[in-house]
Each structure stands twice: as C-alpha cells, then as structure tokens.
Subunit: 418 residues, 2 copies
Amino acid sequence: MDISSYILEVGQQASKASVEMARANTATKNNALNFIADEILKNKKSLLSANEKDLKQAKENKLEDALLDRLGLNDDRIANMAEGLQQISSLTDPIGTIINLASRPSGIQVGQMRVPLGVIGIIYESRPNVTADAAGLCLKSGNAAILRGGSEAIHSNQAIATYIQNGLKQAGLPSNAVQVINTTDRQAVGELLSLDKYVDVIVPRGGKGLIERISNEASMPVIKHLDGICHVYIDKYADIDKAVAIAFNAKTQRYGTCNTMECLLIAEDVAESVLKQLKPKYDEAGVEIRGCESSRKLYSDIKAATNDDYATEYLAPIMSLKIVGNIDEAMAHIAQFSSQHTEAIVTDNLENAQRFLREVDSSSVMVNASTRFADGFEYGLGAEIGISTDKFHARGPVGLEGLTSKKYIVLGNGHIRQ
Amino acid sequence: MDISSYILEVGQQASKASVEMARANTATKNNALNFIADEILKNKKSLLSANEKDLKQAKENKLEDALLDRLGLNDDRIANMAEGLQQISSLTDPIGTIINLASRPSGIQVGQMRVPLGVIGIIYESRPNVTADAAGLCLKSGNAAILRGGSEAIHSNQAIATYIQNGLKQAGLPSNAVQVINTTDRQAVGELLSLDKYVDVIVPRGGKGLIERISNEASMPVIKHLDGICHVYIDKYADIDKAVAIAFNAKTQRYGTCNTMECLLIAEDVAESVLKQLKPKYDEAGVEIRGCESSRKLYSDIKAATNDDYATEYLAPIMSLKIVGNIDEAMAHIAQFSSQHTEAIVTDNLENAQRFLREVDSSSVMVNASTRFADGFEYGLGAEIGISTDKFHARGPVGLEGLTSKKYIVLGNGHIRQ
C-alpha cells in the first residue's frame, strides 16, 4: 500500500473508532488505561530490546547526546510510563459532564454537555514516553488518536503501540482508537496534515521549527505554542526578598523549559537594591546576563543586550535584563517581545497587580509567583498534553478539558417555539 | 491608496485599537453602545436617505424581492437596531470575569480570567442591521471589529459606520475599534482573509456558498456553520400529542431558519398514529412531504425521498420523512445526513433520552422540545453573532462568551517552584 492510501486508511479507522470512544463509559476507559499499563510492565524486556535497536541506530547516525538521552528507556522510565497511565485513569472523566443547566422563560432547560473532539493527531519528536502519555490523555477524553513519533524512536513506538492496542482490546474498546504510524517516511506527516475530513485537531510537540512547519501545513486546527519568552517584572512596590527569590527561581530552577524566565524587568527605583542581592546569586549559578545601558552602569560585567536578545528564548543559563521607568514601560516591553506564554509581576501594590493581571495578554499571568508554575500539573489539571499560546479554543496548559468540546443540550416537556 | 495597503492599514488600526478595547471598563463600553444607539436614532433621516440610494441601485440591478426586503430600512427597523444596541449594553460584561480560582498544594491560587480575542472580522450579506448588531457584540466583548457588508448595502453601512465611530468617540474609545470597509471591491475580502497577523478570527454570516468560500480562504480561525439539516426523531415511547406538536412546530414555525426541521424520523411502532394526526396538519400548512417506502404505503400522496432529499436543507415548506425501526436506526440516519446543527428526540423513555443526548454529535441536542429553540436568545445568551457547528472553540449559538478567550492567572505571595 502506498503512503497516501495507508494514512487515509488510518484516518478512516480512527474516525470510525472515535464514535465508539465517544460512547465508552468511564469504567471501560479506565480499565483500558490500566490494562495498557500492565501490558507495558509485562513486556518490559521486549520494549527494552526494541529501544536498544533505536539507540544502536541513533548512535550510528551520530545523534547528539541530549537526544540519545531522551530516546533511551530503562526500568525507571518504563515504570514511570505505566504510572502515568494509571494516574490518568484516576482523573475525573470530563466527558458527559453537564454545566450551566438552567431554566429559561420559555420553560425549556438549557445546559452544555462536554464531548470529545473526535480524532486527535499528535506529532512529536524523540521521547517514546510521549506515545503512552498522549495516547492515555486522548483515550481518557474519549477521543481516538493518531500518533506520529520521531523516526529515531520507531521501534520503541511500534512496541508501545502493540501494548496499547492489546490493552484497548482487553477493555473491549476498538484497537484502532490509538494508531501509531508505522513508517518513518516524511510523506506520512504531509498526508496526515491534509486529512481534515478525518482528523479534528493536531497537537505538535517538539521544537519551534517542527511546530511552525506543522501549523503552516495543517488543514485542521492546531493546539500549539511556539516558544516561551517569559518575563518577570519587579515593580517599584515589590518586596525585595520575594522579588529576588522569584527572579532567581524563574531563571535557574530549570533552564530548558518553556516557562523559564528569559528576561527580567526591574523598576528603576528598586533596581539597585534588587540587583545587589540577585546578581551574586546569578553569578554563582553561572548565569550570563545581557542588559540595558542602565544595568551596565551598575555592573560593568553585564554584556550589552540587543533587541535580538530580548526576542530570544535562550533555554540556557543566559538571560536578558532591562531597567524600566514604571509598570507601563514594563508592559510595553512585554507587549513587544513576549511570546504570550507566561509573565509575572512582583509587587505589593494592589492596583499594579490588578493592572498587570488584566492588561498583560499572555496565556498565564502571575502575581508574586515564579513563572515555573505554568504547568498542567501545578495548575491541577492532573496532566498536560502541551501549553497553548493561542487564544482560540484552549489557552495555557492543556489537560483533558482542552481535548474536549461542549454541545448544548435542551430538555423540554413538549415545548414548542411561540 | 490601493486596496491591499488600505486593508493592511485597517488591520493595523484595528489591532492597535484592540489593546485599548481590552482595557476599557464596562461603563465606558456601555456608554459607547448607548451613544451609538442615540446617534442612529438622531440621524434616522440621513440613514434612510443612504438606504434609499442602496435600494435604488438594487432595483436597477434587479435584485430579488427577498433580498430587497432584507436590504430595506424603515422607522421600525431603525428603532430595532438602536434597541438591539441598548440590549447589548444591559448584558453582563464577560471580560475580567475570574472562574475556578482555587488553591493548589504548592500554595499558589490558580484561576482563569476571561479576555477578548482581539480583532474580529465579520463578513456578511445584505442586511444593514448586522452592521450595528455585530459591532455592538464585538464592542461589548472588548474586541475591535472590521466589518465587511454586502456591496448592495454600502451606503447604508457607511452611514451606520459614521454613527458607530461618533458614539465610540463620545465614550472616549478609539473610533478605529469598529471599522467598516469602504470599498465594494471583492479584492478587499481576499486581503482581509490573509491578514492573520492582525485579525484573530473571522465570522462569516450569510449563505452556504459565502461561508464555504471564506472558510477555505481564511488564514485565521473561522466561527461558522454551513447549514442546518435538523432532525426530529419521534421515539416508540413518545407522547403522541407532544410529538405532533413538536414536529409541526419544528417544521412550520418558520421555514427559512437554520434551526428548522428538515427531516422527520418516526419509530415504526408509532408511525401510523403519529402521522394520522400530523399529516393533515402538514397538508393544511402546504408542506410537501418526501418520504421513504413505508411512509408511502401509508399515504400514497407522499413523494419518494432520495438520498439527495435527506441531505438537503430545504429552507422551504418541503421536508423529508423516514420511518425507522428503532433509536439506533434513527441515530445512524442522523450521523449520515445531519449537518450537526440541532437534533431532537421526542420520548418518555429515560434511557433513550439519555442515549440520544449523549450519542448524537450535534451542536444542540434536545429532548421533547422543538429544534426552533436553538437560538442565542432562547438559550439566554442575550444575543447571538451566529451558530457554530464546529467543535473547536465555540459550538452552538455564539454570544458574547464565544468572542472571548480565557487566560490563566496565578496569585502567589513570593512562591517559588520546588
């Protein structure tokens, strides 16, 4: 079968399975999740040997160490994969929930029922644990999933696909509810992205390049975020100790995550006293600071920041710094350079806190907390398929609810329109 | 200025105005709505003379009577236009509403704040009242709007645009928050649809052809419905009197609306007793019935329905009819032919009611009520910019909330991630 016909068949099968998935009750879906976890644990040995094939190939292809690390599985990572599925099974099922049911003057009752989106396509890079994780979230939210992992993980992903499909079958659900594309040919991605008749939404997970390419090419909606150029603004009315703790944590707790602070803005009235405490901490952590003129007058070892710096997601121990006149200047800088992922203000002034919350146009806006909290688990979603910086449909960390829609339901007793 | 530069300028101006609109408080927005209503009433004479120009041109171009009727304004219609704006001013402002604010184990509080989408483009056909109506909804929801009305209404729409911009200015809001495209050149639509950098969403209002064209061409998300092929299914366990009342109302209360029933499905066990009461009523109303074999055995004057009939939105006193074995057969027919707008079941059986509610994949699903209730006003949204049959973002009647997004807000007191 050629790739075009193969992907078409995958799409049609997913679409058919999605009808059964939408009707599946919570117990059945939870059973499937637990059966899949069991299958993964039971077949640990064969999963490790499939993974070994991928690693061998990857080493031959001279993959970077960081990518090799992401690709590799071991006992711990397999246990985590299974545990992740069990955790998803313990989350509240969003499907069928009825909200806002209220009586209208006509006598009808109107509410909204949460329903699945249908078929979700997920395109991701090397980590094989995404296969189990994404499949689990789609399954619990009553959707069918089509997964396309990185070519370097093909053997691991195919193995995991088998365990998933076995688990689905044991629970009495259609095995086509989760399909993992079995070819590494790039044409498969293009075909999948053109299949808007059968695929309702695409979720890309990976680097900015991958996500931009997919967004441009997809014929269906995409849940995505491009990058996280996150800001912390230390206001004139900030508690200095809190400000120092937050700005240090937001940059250094992890460098490679999308909710890491990339640019620090400080009100000029407190810049000196903040930096006096904060700069030695950054120095000790080995963080390189690229700052504005005024900051360089305070510390001559701060490098000059360009506009390119302010527009960069470093994902590394590098950050930009700007001393600003006031909150308006800070919000103007954010409006110009932020990727609308997450911004935080540190202040004890109620008006400035409220203005920042209201006026900053990002998917997460924080007062007196580290940007590192922008995360589905920290927000209590229980799980996360990604973080959306779009305003349409889901915004911010996307858990089960972001993979659903709502339909209106109307309850009458023979009511007709007058 | 050429059209491309003109539309680009309109987009940039709208984008700039949208920042101010997002920050505008409720009183200011309500003032603007009421000022615009006043302006419209005050300038009734000049609006009527602008409308006269459009009507004269339209008659010369031999526009159909139905379109002429939509295009025409009079004292009543102008009063309704103003009243509509006053009503929007009395609706609750969704912007700034905070929902689900809850404490997390880390100590932070997480919630979601409702925010505007940004810039909304609305493309519509002849009725000039849409100009005021759509502008009012966008304004109240804190968005900027770019309106492109039908070319036959250009003079009326330009006049209304002046009143809107005057009202905005009187309230201290940017007049570019509502811009009406001032050219009838079709190129303007294409340019607008390519402006995803400045326009966040497009709402087309009009015939299926217009909406399909716009959906295919738009580079940004579209809130749309293509057509309303709505079904009523009369279950074996239906109360016959209610069934007759609902099926008659759903078809005949208005023929030209998208929530009108186009196909009636009846369980075979009750078909004869339902049709005995219902058929004479349809006959009296002049409704032509195109039915399945079994229905034609009961009434020889029923014409034969083809699959094309079942797939047609008649918007006329014509309907299709099918006698089915049971609820499964009814839902299978709906899955095949429905446009996923609105479907209703008439039944006194709880299980069948629940199955229908859960399993029918339409934007509105009803039990024992007429499909004609699928409407923003009937649902209590207070207003409606359209009905969405998509699952992504808004679904069903779209009021103010559908023109908004949510952002996460996090409140801490110096919290850092551990």
